[in-house]
């Protein structure tokens, strides 16, 4: 039994660090470290730099142009990237649809789609949830009817993260309304420029435009954009959700945010002393740090037990619950750390550009401007990717056997 990574893994970590030092632009780094919004261009440029290094596909196998990392290498990459302030990779292309295309797509689809995911030339979004199909995803109603060599798609998807930037969307659609809910679903790849698609922003509680509704009105999708067999889409969807759960604990990101919390708590004053020395606040920080440590070791245990296999098992539900709870607690503590200066809310102050302009003087410390918005935004953590309650269902069914 040992906690340390192997020498080979340490060397890989050094390689990742060196790459990040050299290639991560300082303006993007500053945005991530201070919680400012990233633009589409920021994400695309970072994806491009990874691609140029041969890392565009992260853990993709070599046959598809990826570096063929195992799960430990992927973990190391994600941790180092988060600590360095690199953008978290937009997962919809690289981590979600790409593994489905590799496993179930045909050669033409693989050649058509995978290279542009890796290079960042095509941005993907997810068409899973609908207004009436959230946790109960199989009840989805968006219909696709075959008309010659095209499907005609009608319906509505929602919670499309960054769909306003997307070139393509992967969609679960109902192709057989007579069958059991899970048996009548197909998996389509749809060009976002297709006539009949309307993207409408949903403004979230923090004022941000992060998610959208997408409406489909007689959208024609070539049959060759269907993955696998008709009505087998649920199998591919579940496969995809399994891949969504890699790096679900977000240990590296939480470590970075914890360090930021400590920096803020060291600068804030209470009765003339640093807030971080206040016994109650120090105990809150210590508690979340300890819980993060326990989560990190649990995450390493899961990785170690996987022995390099890709899709994590039901243990990922434990990581998801604890990881999101910890992420939320850290953001809550950051907001609470700044006391009354959590209250001023200027949407424009979330942008790095506004902050960098010396003529803009925010009320209170600069680091306070984004904290309440981030706290509110991160309530999503325990809702998306399968609510934490759904995760507990999975634990009790798959691990406990109830």
């Amino acid at each position: 039994m040992r906690l340390e990574f192997t020498e080979e893994e340490q060397l890989f970590r050094e390689e990742v660090r060196a790459f990040l030092r050299e290639k991560l632009p300082s303006d993007i780094r500053e945005k991530v470290l201070n919680g400012f919004e990233l633009s589409r261009a920021d994400h695309v440029m970072w994806q491009r730099r990874l691609h140029d290094r041969g890392w565009g596909g992260l853990s993709w196998p070599k046959e598809f142009g990826g570096p063929g990392w195992n799960s430990v290498q992927l973990y190391i990459f994600e941790e180092e990237s988060a600590l360095a302030g690199a953008p978290r990779l937009i997962p919809f292309g690289t981590k979600m649809v790409a593994p489905v295309i590799m496993a179930f797509g045909n050669a033409a689809q693989q050649q058509r789609f995978l290279p542009k995911i890796s290079s960042g030339e095509e941005w993907w979004c997810q068409g899973y949830s609908e207004p009436g199909a959230g946790s109960d995803l199989a009840s989805l109603k968006t219909r696709a009817v075959l008309d010659g060599d095209h499907y005609v798609v009608n319906g509505q998807k929602t919670w499309n993260t960054l769909g306003q930037y997307a070139d393509w969307i992967f969609c679960l659609v109902r192709t057989d309304s007579q069958a059991k809910p899970q048996s009548g679903i197909s998996f389509l790849l749809i060009d976002m420029k297709s006539p009949g698609i309307t993207v409408r922003p949903i403004t979230l509680l923090d004022g941000g435009h992060e998610v959208n509704e997408i409406w489909f009105e007689d959208v024609r999708v070539p049959i060759q954009n269907r993955i696998g067999d008709e009505n087998k889409g649920w199998t591919y969807a579940k496969f995809l959700l399994g891949h969504e759960r890699t790096n679900i604990a977000g240990v590296g990101g939480s470590k970075r945010e914890l360090a930021r919390l400590k920096r803020i708590a060291a600068q804030e004053r209470k009765n003339g002393r640093p807030l971080i020395e206040d016994p109650l606040f120090a105990a809150h920080i210590a508690q979340v740090e300890i819980d993060l440590w326990a989560l990190e070791i649990t995450n390493l245990r899961v990785l170690s037990a996987e022995h390099g296999s890709r899709a994590p098992g039901p243990e990922a539900s434990i990581l998801k619950i604890r990881g999101t709870e910890i992420g939320q607690r850290i953001s809550e503590l950051m907001m609470r750390a700044v006391g009354p200066y959590a209250l001023p809310f200027r949407r424009e102050a979330m942008a790095a550009g506004w902050q960098a302009d010396p003529s803009h003087e925010p009320p209170g410390p600069r680091y306070a401007a984004t904290l309440a918005a981030a706290y509110m935004n991160l309530r999503k953590l325990s809702i998306f990717g399968g609510t934490n309650e759904i995760q507990k269902n999975i634990i009790s069914k798959m691990i406990v056997g109830l």
Binding site: L3, W293, E315, I318, K392, I395, S396, K397
Partner: protein, 378 residues
């Protein structure tokens, strides 16, 4: 990284597990618990035969010369079986403490007898006012012509009555909380002036408050250098803390297993109560606590002998805080999910609950360790 036991560690785990499953069932626990002494000499001899009393004894003293990972491997089954014998007190903590003084011929001889199971020693260190602060010692050791005279009061000394020898810390210099000035003495339990107020603890273990009134000990009973014993005491307690963490994880695993089985069997409203989502989610929460605790028991075992004291204490405090909180959650929820049956003395569940309650309170509760962690980490 690797979270597997070595073959040898796995064998040790399996042999302790098998022995206790076969020879130390719940009825046996109840019978020993009801006895006057509260521990069983035959069971102790059985443990000696298995070699577990020799695990932490150096090879030079006839032991196996193993360490925290082997201790981790054996403590889980001991927790599950609610072992009442002084394994943690004598074979882990006192043994680890004496190991630091193995160049003392009498300490070395004592270690040999402890490995064989023919001697039991316990560390009598904490005092009524020390709470969980290790440096706090007010028991005094005055020099006499022949040696030292000890006066003081040691609080809740686990298994003191079972021991032939007490390792007693006393001040030869310094204020109550000074890091230096503490000296350790090897004192026979039968020494004149030494009295025990013995009692069972909440979990059925045995302990005593130890009173020292003018206890005369020869100079040769001093262990190591005068006034410099605190690091050895601390090191031994750290090893003991890691072992306690492993034991607690064994108890929690047993409680989660028992609770899962119970909700699958118990019928209400015409179905097994495990069909109800409120209970399913509670069990998921118990499992999450258990797995976080298990992770931290590994950390504790891997770091409890770290030469860097600050890093060692950070890891141990993190582990004990997480595990202590898990002890409380898993114990309380196991009783809750067993309903009225969880309240009875008849079911082993309440005894596991009590053992976890004690484990949370021993060697510093979660709050104490959270505070120490915060102080060491800032």
């Amino acid at each position: 990284m690797n979270f597997e036991f070595s073959d040898e560690q796995q064998q040790l785990h399996d042999s302790v597990d098998r022995y206790l499953t076969e020879r130390y069932n719940f009825d046996k626990f109840r019978a020993i618990n009801a006895s006057q002494s509260g521990w069983d000499k035959a069971a102790w001899a059985g443990l000696a035969e298995l070699g577990v009393l020799a695990i932490n004894v150096p090879v030079a003293q006839g032991g196996l010369g193993f360490g925290p990972l082997e201790t981790l491997a054996m403590m889980g089954p001991c927790g599950r079986s609610l072992l009442l014998e002084p394994l943690l007190s004598s074979a882990v903590i006192a043994t680890a403490c004496l190991r630091a003084f193995a160049d003392d011929a009498q300490a070395a001889a004592l270690l040999t007898r402890m490995a064989e199971g023919t001697a039991i020693a316990v560390l009598a260190h904490f005092e009524p006012e020390s709470r969980f602060e290790i440096p706090w010692v007010t028991t005094s050791a005055e020099r006499t012509e022949a040696g030292y005279r000890l006066d003081g009061h040691k609080a809740v000394v686990m298994h003191a009555a079972a021991a032939d020898t007490l390792l007693i810390s006393a001040r030869t210099a310094g204020d109550a909380s000074a890091a230096s000035g503490v000296t350790l003495f090897r004192v026979p339990r039968s020494a004149p002036g030494l009295t025990l107020d013995s009692y069972p603890t909440i979990d059925g273990q045995r302990a005593a408050d130890v009173y020292l009134k003018g206890v005369e000990v020869p100079a040769g009973s001093k262990l190591g250098t005068e006034a410099a014993a605190l690091p050895a005491i601390e090191a031994a307690l750290d090893i003991g803390l890691a072992a306690l963490c492993a034991e607690a994880v064994g108890v929690m695993q047993a409680l989660v297993d028992a609770t899962v089985m119970y909700v699958q069997t118990r019928q209400q409203f015409g179905v097994a109560i495990g069909r109800f989502q409120a209970l399913q989610h509670r069990i998921a929460d118990m499992l999450i606590h258990l797995e976080q605790a298990r992770s931290m028991s590994y950390l504790a075992a891997l770091r409890c002998t770290d030469a860097n004291v600050t890093e060692r204490h950070r890891a141990l405090s993190a582990a004990k805080a997480v595990i202590g909180q898990a002890c409380r959650f898993v114990g309380q929820q196991a009783v809750q999910l067993h309903g009225g049956m969880g309240m009875t003395d008849e079911l082993v569940v309440s005894h596991w609950f009590k053992r976890l309650t004690a484990a949370e309170m021993m060697f510093g509760d979660s709050d104490a360790h959270l505070q120490r962690y915060a102080a060491l980490t800032r």
